[in-house]
Symmetry: D2
Subunit: 182 residues, 4 copies
């Protein structure tokens, strides 16, 4: 009869109400990842871009691997959890040995104020380039993963399709890895 | 009679109650800075360490420039605001052109779990090395700024005095700038 | 009678013959710098591009601050020497505290093989973003320094005018500092 | 009669005489690597240190993966070639997607002038942390590869045994990956 409370299996998860309130109070910490395929010398051959339903607007949009860091969760664990959520369990992402992101992305809720925009919140994301060697099988709300060459990833059309201005992050990622952007 | 609401001059500020509740829900985003004096070639000559009253425990402790990023505030603005709060208005900090921190510091509320520890919260800090060229006059709760050589900054005694395990951040900062740590 | 040899005041300097021979044997180490003007928060407002006579071809071309690291010279000293050579003695460049470049640029002598090209040699350059606060007065073979907005620095026309493919380095520099490249 | 010259299969290789002359003229470009074993989240569990005969002094010393960048060779190819030379063909090193080293190491021929020292030459090395997943079988002059915990890699004894002051590079590598150095 006594109801023994089991530990919350998902302690970082918040109710919609609590999350909405929290979003009005502090910037929300995210991790994002640009999945890449490398040749044996570490040169980026392909860049992965997700096609999915926007959790903000419900539209079909292109985006990157992205998710919140939960309370009590390490940045590395959050990165791994979100890679698995968006690419499936067989992607075999190779997390970088350094915790330093290649850039910090700041999203503001007001459109037009900054290059990056998230209507739900002020979000700050640590962004990583993550090589994957396995098979990517997007799941949950991700419909498809498209592999593009670095040059294709830089096309103006594609940039415009990326949610919240994330075309900028793709450009920064390609610059960081030294891909030829000409 | 109508009370006209003036815009909140400090929109990121939260009541103690709201802050405490928020701290139980999400990791809180901080910026931290290691102030340095450079020679003309960019070599670090001195490292600044603060002596101040811990806002967590009330004890006198050594620490770095540190503070929360407010809702709606950019990371750069938060860094500048906290440098001015801790070093005074005449320090003339030279913020780096890149928004990428040299490391990401993760503080957990449970002691002993991680190298870095904050009893109040799960905090994630973007940490920067910031050259200052002016006069530093600590204010608010900061009692004193001590300038140390990179070698002095590495002494085991000093490391032990730094709040929350931040001796690790000093070591990482000195490694990042290529200071001789022998 | 005795001819007393005074120490070579310029020990890294090589005769044209010795330099040419050396260039056929090993990659030659360079430093390059992208000069920038920052606002107080560290945001890049302007990017400096040099107009000068190419030492490779004699044509008038656009380029970056660039020069060889001499034998026995530190990377920091080489960077400072070349900044002074190209921007004059009153530019007051702020060398970064970390010796890590934002990218490594590899120039090959054969055109079309790589994004970057130097007909004289195989050169490897450590490339830095360097804030300058003083007055720039190009000297020696540099004719003029033009200050551009990050957006202007990204125009396809300008990119095409940069010597040896260095438009790529400008793009990488702007990505590194988080400039909006849209 | 006509002696047809076949292309040099090893074009970057230089005779001892040519190499010695070149070393007196310009800094020589090297790549170095700190091999690491990672856990699935990218946390460094072990650091590899080589035991080998010093090519400078003939003594048995500890060192890192290290070698010259040949004329015409890319930095990535030089890194891969030297990893294979020192760790064997089955080490499966994962070269990082970015060409930016975590530090630049400068070796001067005069002892005591700088933290890093190479009696043969002025060398400048681009230093990388490289995860390896396969079996390491040192060959050529490398006698053994020892895997150490990050803490063991920081012991004062080990640091003293590393050739040319490379204990500093180990400390910098561990700081870069966020290993607990306490």
């Amino acid at each position: 009869m006594a109801s023994v409370r089991t530990p919350d299996p998902n302690p970082g998860w918040l109710s919609e109400l609590a999350l909405e309130e929290t979003r009005s109070r502090v910037p929300i910490l995210y991790v994002e990842a640009v999945p890449v395929r490398l040749d044996p010398n570490g040169v980026v051959e392909k860049v992965g871009v997700l096609l999915r339903t926007s959790s903000a607007t419900g539209e079909i949009i292109r985006t990157l691997v992205s998710g919140r860091v939960y309370h009590g969760e390490s940045v590395r664990s959050a990165l791994m959890r979100n890679l698995e959520k968006d690419l499936g369990p067989m992607a075999f992402p190779a997390l970088p040995p350094s915790p330093t992101p290649f850039t910090v992305a700041e999203y503001l809720p007001m459109p037009g104020v900054s290059a990056l925009h998230d209507p739900r919140q002020h979000a700050v994301a640590l962004v990583y380039v993550v090589p994957v060697t396995g098979d990517c099988a997007p799941r949950q709300d991700a419909l498809e993963l498209t592999w593009l060459t670095p040059r294709e990833a830089q096309s103006a059309d594609l940039r415009g399709e990326l949610e919240g201005g994330r075309g900028l992050l793709l450009t920064q990622a390609m610059a960081h890895v030294g891909a030829n952007l000409a």
